[in-house]
């Protein structure tokens, strides 16, 4: 299963390296979203600083939706999904591989967005351990749930609009917990950030387990 996951992740990342869709389209889109948040808050610096963790995770959510759609649009063209089904790779391995590829792209995006938040919203970074750990856990949640729902909506009519409708409510607790963990790490809230990290870890485990168990059936129905 792990070998299959590596093969699929390497394939997806190679496609991204050659096409550069995430780098040339998704990353600029996420940065534009950050800029627009600045307009929405009327460039009020204290307000932007306070809201920066939430705005960061909203930008990640929007960009994550695009990354997941891209991950499955490469499979729907030219019958690539049929080839993947017939390849003999384990469905759980395909799920983990696709989730890992989306996660790698999201981590790169989050690094750039963090820079954007520091420059645009004047956020001072602190609590590096909690920041990185909660970012990794949230990314695992977005990638796992995204790939599971991406497979689910792959063969559907109007999948472009259905995927955000299905995925956004599922990821709402992740955005909530990720924002709270970052607020604690940045000293914007007095709560226990590690408790929120626990919530994120629990959601990541549930989404990953659900994807590993159900991805085979979803691929058959797609």
């Amino acid at each position: 299963m792990w070998r299959d996951a590596l093969v699929v992740a390497a394939k997806d990342l190679l496609i991204e390296r050659r096409s550069r869709v995430a780098m040339n389209q998704v990353v600029p889109y996420a940065l534009v979203v950050l800029l627009l948040f600045g307009f929405a808050f009327d460039q009020q610096r204290p307000l932007l600083e306070q809201a920066s963790p939430g705005l960061f995770w909203m930008a990640v959510l929007f960009a994550g939706l695009l990354a997941v759609q891209r991950s499955f649009s490469v499979e729907t063209s030219d019958g690539a999904m049929d080839n993947l089904r017939l390849s003999g790779l384990q469905p759980a391995g395909i799920f983990l591989g696709k989730a890992a590829a989306v996660a790698v792209q999201l981590i790169a995006l989050e690094a750039l967005l963090t820079l954007g938040v520091v420059v645009l919203f004047h956020t001072e970074l602190a609590g590096a351990g909690l920041l990185v750990a909660s970012a990794l856990a949230s990314t695992a949640c977005v990638a796992a749930a995204g790939v599971a729902y991406g497979a689910l909506s792959m063969g559907l009519r109007a999948r472009e609009t259905l995927l955000p409708l299905l995925l956004a409510p599922v990821l709402a607790p992740v955005v909530l917990a990720g924002t709270q963990a970052w607020r604690c790490a940045l000293g914007l809230s007095s709560g226990d950030g590690w408790r929120w990290l626990g919530v994120l870890g629990a959601f990541a485990a549930i989404y990953l387990a659900g994807g590993v168990l159900g991805f085979g059936a979803l691929m058959e129905e797609a």
Partner: protein, 250 residues
């Protein structure tokens, strides 16, 4: 007037419907006239006779949807009736979820002074409603009945997870929403207030059951229409064609 060929009502649903109407009338009478105002909340306490019962029916709808979905996924139990039950539960649950949000918002305005606040229980209920809309949209997007049942079952199970988190939200997070008052040892509601609240659970339970029976039968009739509709259309075209041939022969 011609009677419908396949109505969604049955003798059971008619009994349920009339019982629900009577129970709702009793709840209204007790809730508005018999039950006294509360010492703290005054007249606003009367929404207590709607909101908790409606919220419980919302959970029941999504719970039935998830359990029926698990039964459908279980190979030995797999049957179309579980899928029908799942969609009935989700749709009726969504109606009660919307009613929960509306009545909760009215109560919030009366007690907290705002129509909406970013509280864990409220936010999770809104998320649950959005998930149920997604579930119903997903069902409308898949034509093949087997695929529809398969993908929607998986979404339903995830919806159950949100129901559980939503239910325990008041215990796990610091929220404005009050904690359990009724279903605990030594409830803090007494007398006519307790009686009316329990009566509201019976009334909305009957409404829920009535809606479930109708929605289940409607799904059954839709399946029948899908199966028989094509045969009926083909028979009608054949009849038209044979009529044309006969005219041509003459």
């Amino acid at each position: 007037m011609k009677k419908p060929v396949a109505p969604s009502s049955t003798r059971l649903s008619r009994v349920l419907g009339w019982s629900a109407l009577v129970a709702l009338a009793v709840t209204t009478w007790w809730g508005l006239w018999v039950s006294p105002p509360d010492k703290v909340q005054g007249q606003f306490v009367r929404i207590l006779y709607v909101h908790p019962a409606v919220a419980t029916m919302c959970y029941a709808g999504f719970g039935i949807c998830a359990l029926a979905s698990i039964a459908w996924l279980w190979p030995r139990l797999r049957s179309r009736r579980w899928d029908r039950l799942a969609v009935a539960g989700a749709e009726v649950g969504a109606v009660f979820c919307l009613a929960t949000l509306v009545t909760g918002s009215i109560w919030g305005r009366a007690t907290w002074g705002v129509w909406w606040t970013w509280d864990a229980r409220l936010t999770l209920t809104a998320v649950l409603f959005a998930m149920s809309l997604g579930y119903l949209a997903l069902r409308r997007s898949v034509e093949n009945p087997h695929s529809r049942a398969m993908v929607s079952s998986m979404v339903a199970i995830l919806m159950l997870l949100t129901v559980v988190v939503d239910h325990y939200a008041t215990a796990w997070w610091v929220t404005l929403h009050q904690n359990t008052t009724l279903f605990k040892p030594g409830p803090t509601v007494h007398g006519w207030q307790l009686a009316t609240m329990l009566e509201s659970f019976v009334a909305f339970g009957l409404v829920f059951a009535w809606m479930m029976v109708h929605r289940y039968r409607l799904e059954m009739l839709e399946e029948r229409f899908e199966n028989e509709g094509l045969s009926a259309a083909l028979a009608a075209r054949r009849a038209e064609l044979s009529g044309m041939v006969r005219v041509g022969e003459q």
